[in-house]
């Protein structure tokens, strides 16, 4: 058993190293596929980050009447946090509201005195999980025992924008999933066909091996070994290229999307990514070889 396994591995390596052109073509296709699988995996996290940051911009504000004390507003905040639809509640005091306005529009610093009259209301910024849940939150506020403390809720003004953001992010998620599935299926088919063509080249040898009494495993084994070697080399190549690209692109992407550090994301997911790459590269090559060779073993 051990001798046979050793012979299968040696034969696999010999065939792989003597088969230059075909081996290079197989590795090239596998690198593409592994690269694609890694990109799809990382883009899931990136798009989640972008979607979340976009959704965070979609919130409603509840403004409280001037006489309402901060303590009471915090108690209301506590109650709101317990509403299942509510994702996040943030308290913004009138001082904080002014500070944010000045920070966003520094040119207004001199007219703060004038704008203060307009911004002196404290508020709670509420965000929910789905766009259609805002109405439920508004209903909750209107029927609550603290409705008299509320000056106004800006939901009706912000409703069109909120719904647009949510429909866009939902469309982006669905498109992403659809594209990923299409790309993965294409990649699998391309890999399978490349390996099938490589094996097609060896039909005559397979027939001869059968005629001299080689068992199916003794014939199939070296092809699987070749697949595994091609897969491993492809993983090493794609991991190197991927790491370099991430390292190079990460600062540039962070410049455009503040808070999105691609390199950290890559390092955080490194082991999972490595597992995905290995399983994509090696399993795909080995499974494709097994399927492709099956019908030629019936001589």
């Amino acid at each position: 058993m051990g001798t046979t396994l050793k012979r299968i591995i040696i034969a696999g390596w010999q065939d792989f190293s003597r088969d230059g052109g075909i081996a290079v073509a197989t590795i090239f296709i596998l690198v593409m596929v592994i690269f694609l699988a890694s990109t799809i995996f990382l883009s899931k996290d990136i798009s989640q980050f972008l979607i979340t940051s976009l959704q965070e911009k979609a919130d409603i504000s509840v403004y409280f009447k001037e006489f309402v004390l901060e303590n009471d507003i915090l108690k209301i905040k506590e109650k709101l946090s317990q509403v299942p639809e509510v994702k996040n509640v943030e308290y913004v005091s009138k001082e904080e509201a002014i500070r944010r306005l000045v920070e966003k529009h520094p040119q207004l610093i001199e007219s703060v005195q004038e704008t203060e009259g307009m911004l002196k209301l404290a508020a709670l910024n509420i965000s929910v999980f789905e766009a259609n849940q805002y109405q439920a939150v508004v209903n909750f506020l209107e029927n609550s025992n603290f409705k008299d403390s509320i000056d106004f809720v800006d939901y009706s003004q912000r409703k069109p924008v909120i719904e647009r953001i949510f429909s866009l992010t939902s469309l982006a998620t669905k498109t992403g999933i659809f594209l990923s599935i299409i790309l993965i299926i294409t990649a699998i088919l391309v890999t399978f066909n490349t390996i099938r063509l490589a094996i097609l080249n060896s039909i005559e040898e397979i027939k001869i091996q059968r005629l001299v009494g080689a068992s199916n495993w003794f014939i199939r084994g070296p092809f699987l070994v070749q697949g595994a070697i091609a897969g491993m080399i492809a993983v090493l190549i794609s991991l190197s290229i991927f790491s370099l690209l991430i390292w190079f692109l990460s600062p540039k992407i962070e410049f455009f999307f503040a808070g999105l550090n691609l390199f950290n994301l890559f390092m955080k997911n490194f082991w999972i990514l490595l597992l995905i790459q290995f399983s994509t590269g090696i399993l795909l090559a080995v499974i494709s070889s097994t399927i492709a060779i099956r019908k030629y073993l019936k001589v």
Binding site: T3, L211, G213, A214, F218
Partner: protein
């Protein structure tokens, strides 16, 4: 050792239409007829014999050897190898049968990606011989066929005669029960033909059982061994110390 009992092999002219197949109709189609490669063939190969199977091209020589190697299955009749009926051998046991047979083909059938040494050693690897046995036996056999200096060459780097000698070395390295040689000299010039026949005779003298399919009259007549003559798939003559007569 090998016994043919009323063996017939028919190659269908073409796949029958589904309707004809379902109703058990004939396998002919659009005027094309089935080809009977062998018809009602019966004979026996005894241990240590050197048999020449002769006949014109298309007489059924290759089909006969393919049936022994279980590359093909008979349409009718039974074939026995060492008392075991070939039709009853399960696909998983097929390699075991083939390991008992050495085969030499007209087109050599060498593994193009392996060297001379590796081609010969492959059969020993297949039967599970140890590395030591391989290292000891392969050079000896290469010496018998006169290829000790070509051990590291790939088939593409060898002449036709040399390739056929590799093929013979591969066929005898594991001491098979019988060696089947299908037109082994078909692609060779007279000098190489003579070398190959001398080699086959040498194997026979060492106790090997050989079946040689050929349409080379001179070779058959010079051997002076048993000759089975096929014509249109039928045995028309089976003589001890026979001659090539058609």
């Amino acid at each position: 050792m090998v016994k043919f009992q009323n063996v017939t092999k028919i190659y269908p002219a073409r796949l029958p239409e589904p309707r004809a197949q379902a109703s058990g109709g004939p396998a002919s189609f659009s005027g094309l007829k089935d080809t009977a490669a062998l018809e009602n063939v019966s004979f026996e190969i005894k241990e240590g014999e050197f048999i020449s199977i002769v006949g014109r091209s298309g007489a059924g020589k290759t089909t006969l050897l393919k049936l022994i190697l279980l590359e093909e299955k008979p349409t009718k009749g039974r074939i026995f190898f060492e008392g075991e009926e070939l039709a009853k051998i399960k696909p998983g046991k097929l390699p075991e049968l083939r390991r008992k047979i050495g085969a030499v083909f007209q087109d050599y059938k060498l593994l193009a990606s392996k060297t001379t040494y590796e081609n010969v050693a492959y059969v020993l690897q297949v039967i599970g011989a140890s590395d030591l046995e391989i290292a000891r036996n392969v050079p000896k056999v290469l010496e018998i066929v006169g290829l000790q200096d070509r051990a590291d060459n790939f088939p593409a780097e060898l002449s036709a005669g040399e390739r056929q000698r590799v093929s013979i070395a591969r066929a005898l390295i594991h001491r098979p029960k019988v060696i089947l040689a299908d037109e082994p000299t078909g692609n060779l010039d007279p000098y190489n033909t003579l070398d190959i026949i001398k080699l086959l005779l040498k194997i026979h003298e060492m106790g090997g059982t050989l079946v040689l399919a050929t349409h080379n009259k001179e070779i058959v007549n010079s051997l002076g061994k048993r000759v089975i003559t096929l014509e249109k798939g039928k045995i028309i003559r089976d003589e001890e110390r026979g001659r090539f007569i058609l």
